[in-house]
């Protein structure tokens, strides 16, 4: 029976893509819906999103941002004002053409992102240097009509947050864009235990309408990269297209400088892909909807064990996110498997012998390690254990990422690694979009970022052999 349970999940090594979908459906993070390309986020998946929202929102507010809400619909004429932007998004817009029984005079785009409608409002709200900076964030749904879809990673509708800020100077905007990238890095590494590479996108890969796009790139356990968050310095492109000006202290009318930045529900997909294994999910304790589960082992003393597990559950529940699984229709073994599959970081087993010895058994999801702890020590031990698991999960993922960054100077080797091991390939690039495009066409890998952390050294472009001091990370990606 215990093996049956795990059999329902395709082994990760056998078919990574099927494993991913199996885990998501089986753990009830999400489900397919009758609407093409749209998924349902089930309560267990949504609880992850709520924890992500809370932890990020606290950081946004601590850096002076406020939340607001802008319309879902954007008139077509408004969307078209910034040329690069509309070109980037128009092919994937869902269009509302009728309201009730009437045909609309102008089509409305279901927002793919909100720069255009927000800039329209900013041009009304911002008048003086005293109004700056404007630091607004929005939590909402957006729609992009994608051809192929996959739960959390690529869906027609998804949930996200989008920050939109306006500043007095170019320097202020650049500082904000980098500040929010660092907020993302800190959140993703600390709370989601996902190590990332921080860097800048190439012109080819940047956001439609941005001056610069900064990114944090994570590495999935199949060796593909995933863009975990982006922060854009928009320069004055939108300010000029939407006429956002302010009277500066020197009496001059000037255009504002802007940023925008976002993360999405695809982070949940990244958690699954980086931490999960053949038994299912592994959720980092900080964001786990359930941090520990108590499984009573009744033996022949159901009442004794129920009383003790209830007592311990009551004692712990205000301190950790804990559940007591006292269902009588399943065996302990079945429950062990289920909670492992759902990625709960710690299992607490309590049976008659444990009660006699005034102890409980703790089992770690990350390592499988099992040990006893005296009942009186349970709470402090559990708390440090959750911290240890969080740290270990990060370190494991970090080790994997480090082992999968390969310095390559030769295009054949590049191709071979992309075909076999994947991971990040670190190489010199001349800065020419043509060379970047050649790599993509020949290998399927894209330029993920020009990392901040690398010391710039002189080398030769992997494609054209020209001398360059630009180091770039390439990878296949989601």
């Amino acid at each position: 029976m215990e093996n049956d349970f795990v059999k329902e999940i395709t082994p990760k090594t056998e078919d990574f893509s099927q494993w991913y979908v199996d885990v998501i459906l089986k753990a009830e993070l999400a489900d397919y819906s009758p609407v093409r390309g749209c998924m349902v986020i089930r309560p267990y998946g949504y609880a992850l999103w709520e924890n992500i929202q809370q932890l990020l929102d606290d950081r946004f507010k601590a850096t002076g941002h406020k939340n607001a809400y802008f319309p879902l619909f954007i008139p077509e004429s408004l969307l078209q004002k910034e040329a690069e932007h509309v070109e980037g998004f128009a092919p994937e817009v869902a269009w509302v053409t009728h309201g009730g029984n009437e045909k609309l005079a102008e089509r409305l785009a279901v927002r793919p992102t909100s720069e255009t409608i927000i800039c329209n409002m900013y041009s009304k709200w911002i008048k003086s240097w005293r109004d700056l900076p404007v630091l607004i964030n929005q939590w909402c749904n957006v729609v992009r009509w994608e051809k192929s879809t996959k739960p959390f990673l690529r869906t027609a509708e998804f949930l996200w947050q989008e920050g939109h800020t306006a500043h007095r100077t170019k320097e202020d905007a650049e500082e904000e864009a980098l500040r929010m990238l660092e907020v993302y890095r800190d959140f993703v590494e600390t709370d989601l235990a996902l190590p990332v590479i921080k860097g800048e996108k190439s012109d080819n890969e940047k956001f439609a309408g941005a001056s610069k796009t900064y990114t944090i790139e994570a590495l999935m356990s199949d060796g593909r990269a995933l863009q975990a968050g982006t922060s854009h310095n928009l320069g004055q492109h939108f300010a000029k297209a939407y006429d956002i000006t302010f009277l500066d202290q020197d009496g001059q009318l000037k255009y504002v400088w802007q940023t925008s930045w976002g993360i999405t529900t695809r982070l949940i997909g990244a958690i699954v892909m980086v931490h999960g294994d053949d038994r299912g999910l592994k959720i980092p304790p900080t964001i786990a909807p359930i941090q520990a589960v108590i499984v009573p082992i009744f033996g022949r003393q159901t009442e004794l064990v129920l009383n003790k597990t209830n007592e311990i559950f009551t004692k712990l529940k205000s301190e950790v996110r804990i559940e007591l699984d006292d269902r009588d229709e399943y065996t302990p073994g079945w429950k062990f498997n289920e909670w492992e599959m759902r990625g709960v970081p710690v299992r607490i087993e309590i049976g008659p012998k444990d009660i006699q010895r005034q102890q409980v058994v703790l089992v770690r999801r990350d390592t499988g390690e099992k040990f006893t702890v005296s009942e009186s020590e349970l709470l402090p031990r559990l708390k440090t254990l959750l911290d240890e698991i969080q740290e270990n999960m990060f370190n494991q993922a970090k080790r994997f990422m480090r082992e999968n960054i390969r310095k390559v100077d030769n295009f054949d080797e590049f191709k071979q690694i992309i075909d076999t091991k994947r991971g990040f390939i670190k190489t010199h690039w001349c800065g020419n979009p043509g060379c970047e495009k050649y790599v993509k066409e020949e290998t399927g890998a894209t330029l993920r970022c020009i990392p901040f952390s690398e010391q710039s050294t002189l080398g030769r472009c992997i494609v054209c052999n020209k001398e360059s001091n630009i180091i770039a990370y390439f990878a296949k990606s989601y």
Copy 2:
């Protein structure tokens, strides 16, 4: 100058509707957008919504509900499965017909409410009595293509929560519908300080597809009623239309019993209309984004006063939601008016003389009362003051409502009151939809609810004079 400020708001008695819009725009709760019928909720208004969400969400979770997220789009064929439901909503649906450059094979409704898509998923998820009850809530945006719109009260897009539950028995569903109505009443009266009448809707006024609709009805200060929250017992209508069955403990396949319930951003409109006055907003302390504001009165001792106000601000900010208005471009008088207009419950004034006397001045927004308190007593006094203001605001609104419930037995009197004083009219009604319709056509008043609290007594229908023991509340409404 101080009068100029107030002049920008139309007096409430002169033009209530204009006053309402003036207050909302001036206090920056919301703004008009370039999209017909859609508004922008600005940070100050959205902070109110965040507080509403937090306070309600805690109550939902305490009653065992979990949040999830279902698709924004609903295929036309799915919407049409429950006949009454589609008839009720089809005229106000916004339709997506194109994705990117392609025409869709089937039109997609932008959700006006989510029963249909959620029932479709429930029919897949629910199999056994062990799966019940299903207690799910969703926080999201919905769209209803309204002809005339007004900020918060009636907009094409609005934000809300919608609870959707499935139960094993008819009794369980009825209990849930009433439980959630009571959650709403408690929240709206305790936290928003809005007194309400709890009751049941007539068949005419109930939700499209429901067996019974329960409601809480608030009374605005212009004498119009506003539906503040509804809870529907859906019976088995949707279960039968969407085939949601379960195998019961007795081995029989049965349809589930369902409820749905919701509140929306229109509650923000109710807060404005019930509590506001000619000077602007009055926000109940429990949900006020800013509970107290410190206004330094510099006199000629700017540094001394700034130091002291900073010191007090730092001391209080972890205990109350407080702001320090140390802007040097405005006079204290200007600031007093601005913070009154924004409805901040308490103003704290601190000048050189106050510092000398180790005191501060407190001013209540609800009564205008002004008094001094010693600096050492400030925090405890401020906390009790916020409670007093909350209570006083509720009591004031409650008194107003009580004074505006009029028992009427004569149709001419009914008409006259609706034309002059408005408020709730309490009268006997025979239960015939024809009589209800007659009232609506002749007076513009609708049957708001059959209240729970009224002892049923025998009387005569206000229209047909038939004997009846049904007491109904009628009013003009938003």
